[in-house]
């Protein structure tokens, strides 16, 4: 493989550079645009900015003049709640289904996979109707539940594959050595399945953090919006405030990029498992 000819290697490098450019250019342009001083935004753009606005005016305007900080907090709270609920429920379901005699286990797993392919609007329309009647319209709780309709099936599906592949002998050995069933679970199963659990946590976070549809449908007031919906409404109200829009977009993307830097192998694992809605 290493004996490939020089032209072929050069071609590979060119193709790789093109792929990098294609993937990164819109992101680069978004970040650069958020950092340019406002007067430059209306001048013919240059690929490398002539001046950088070190006062971060676009970010300041966004954070000081809009509900963006509240919406950031909303997104964090909703995503964390979704992660916790998803982990609790999906670990229990996936573990019991792979380890115990449960009637209809294939039906349970099958319906999870089925559910995770539902059209979001098929769920969003009735959810609004249900939450509106329960008095939870325009409420973050409704958004958390809505995100769980996607993240729990995803979590069960991923962990099912994970627990299935984990040898049963380990727990048995622990129990022979005098561990209780619960002890074996907490001392052997949970630590060993940490990679799977981290992957599920990341993907349910990602699902909630990036969701537009459910929050858009279920929440109306600016103070209850999550970041993606907040940004989309900035697009509506601040006509042509592109600097602020790009700052807002960068602020949503940044936490994901930072997570990716540290946890990329879990991201890749989850993606390779074919496991994210989208």
């Amino acid at each position: 493989m290493n004996k490939r000819s020089l032209p072929l290697r050069a071609l590979t490098l060119v193709a790789a550079a093109l792929l990098g450019l294609w993937s990164f250019f819109p992101i680069y342009w978004m970040i650069v645009s958020s950092l340019r001083p406002e007067r430059d935004l209306f001048a013919p753009p240059t690929l490398i900015p002539k001046t950088i606005d070190w006062k971060f005016s676009a970010y300041r305007n966004l954070l000081e003049l809009t509900d963006y900080p509240v919406q950031f907090a909303n997104s964090v709270v909703v995503a964390l709640a979704v992660v916790v609920i998803t982990l609790l429920i999906s670990v229990v379901i996936a573990y019991v289904v792979t380890r115990y005699k449960v009637p209809g286990k294939t039906a349970i797993i099958g319906s999870m996979l089925y559910a995770y392919m539902f059209p979001p609007l098929l769920l969003a329309i009735p959810l609004l109707s249900i939450f509106a009647r329960m008095g939870f319209s325009d409420h973050l709780i409704a958004v958390v539940f809505a995100h769980c309709t996607l993240s729990i099936p995803l979590g069960v599906w991923m962990l099912w594959g994970f627990f299935k592949a984990m040898p049963f002998d380990l727990e048995e050995a622990a129990m022979v050595d005098g561990c209780s069933r619960a002890g074996a679970f907490f001392r052997m199963v949970l630590p060993l399945s940490a990679p799977g659990i981290i992957t599920v946590a990341i993907f349910s976070f990602l699902l909630s953090w990036t969701d537009y549809v459910f929050s858009f449908v279920l929440v109306n007031s600016d103070a209850n919006k999550t970041l993606p919906v907040g940004l989309a409404s900035v697009l509506g109200t601040f006509d042509a405030r592109w600097g602020e829009l790009m700052a807002g977009a960068t602020l949503i993307a940044l936490p994901l990029f930072i997570m990716f830097m540290f946890l990329s192998r879990y991201f890749i694992k989850g993606l390779a498992a074919g496991a994210l809605k989208g």
Binding site: T12, K105, A253
Partner: protein, 295 residues
């Protein structure tokens, strides 16, 4: 395989039943409710409902708009899936090669997939802005004039397709990269011993080994691309003149803008019925108790 005997088993059984019940309630209830809503007429989400049987379905199916939206959805899905799969396989084959800086390029290649759809929509709208967008200005400098990206029906479809391909191709790339890495090296060795050149090894070993993944990917991507609401809604709102209005946008418009909840639910249920066919095909080819099986 265990059965529920000890106390901690029983505790776990209780937790399991509760978890399944919560999940069923969360998922089944809305779906049943959506189907129920599709048989009623109501002015809003909280008003009184009147049972009209199949009325919403008959009304929706008789509209030319429904079939048009269906066709637009199919067009959008087919275009995005073909491009994603072709580009994704190409990128996977590329990233499977050793080259200088590969980890960086691999990381960059995944980034678009992590972005929330709203960020993608906003970034592309900025690149394509009518007066200040970088791509608009470049097009003008190339002598193409100022393209009316979002005013021309064909162009608007092209734009949403490109933005979708940009963000969702990494999913295909990573999946195929994983599939490539599971191909046993011994197969290549055997082919080499048999005198197969690199082209023949690619054609007779790599390609056949990728076919199962290709099937899964095409099915999954079809299900998701047909469902996609946010990218189209955020970029074009289904316009210009409903040129990009597919079934999800149509369902949204009905339920949330025209306050025709029953009609919206009927459109959503119909698109769900179409999808269910695809999902059943998926289950047919990849049964849960198949080869891998439940132990």
């Amino acid at each position: 395989m265990l059965s529920f005997r000890t106390n901690s088993d029983k505790f776990l059984l209780g937790a399991f039943i509760a978890s399944v019940a919560i999940t069923l309630l969360l998922i089944l209830f809305p779906v049943v409710h959506a189907i129920q809503l599709s048989f009623y007429q109501s002015e809003s989400f909280v008003s009184e409902r009147t049972w009209i049987g199949a009325g919403n379905y008959l009304r929706v199916l008789q509209e030319s708009g429904f079939w048009r939206a269906f066709g637009i959805g199919v067009t959008f899905s087919v275009l995005t899936i073909v491009l994603q799969v072709a580009l994704g396989i190409g990128c996977a084959l590329l990233l499977d090669q050793p080259f200088f800086g590969r980890p960086v390029i691999r990381g960059l290649a995944v980034l678009p997939y992590l972005l929330p759809t709203v960020v993608v929509a906003v970034a592309f709208q900025w690149l394509l802005d009518g007066s200040l967008g970088l791509f608009t200005i470049w097009a003008e400098e190339l002598g193409l004039g100022r393209p009316a990206w979002f005013e021309d029906p064909v162009m608007a479809m092209v734009v949403v397709v490109i933005a979708s391909v940009w963000t969702w191709t990494p999913f295909v790339t990573i999946s195929f990269l994983a599939a490539l890495q599971t191909i046993p090296k011994s197969l290549y060795e055997a082919a080499r011993v048999d005198g197969a050149g690199s082209w023949n090894r690619f054609w007779h070993v790599t390609i056949p080994m990728l076919v199962p993944m290709l099937m899964v990917i095409v099915l999954l991507r079809s299900i998701w691309m047909f469902n996609k609401f946010d990218i189209i809604w955020l970029m074009t709102k289904g316009g210009p003149l409903s040129a990009t209005e597919h079934l999800p946008v149509m369902a949204y418009r009905r339920a949330f803008m025209q306050y025709d909840v029953g009609g919206g639910a009927a459109v959503a249920t119909l698109s769900f019925a179409v999808l269910s066919l695809l999902i059943l095909v998926y289950f047919y080819f990849y049964p849960l108790d198949g080869k891998e099986g439940n132990k």
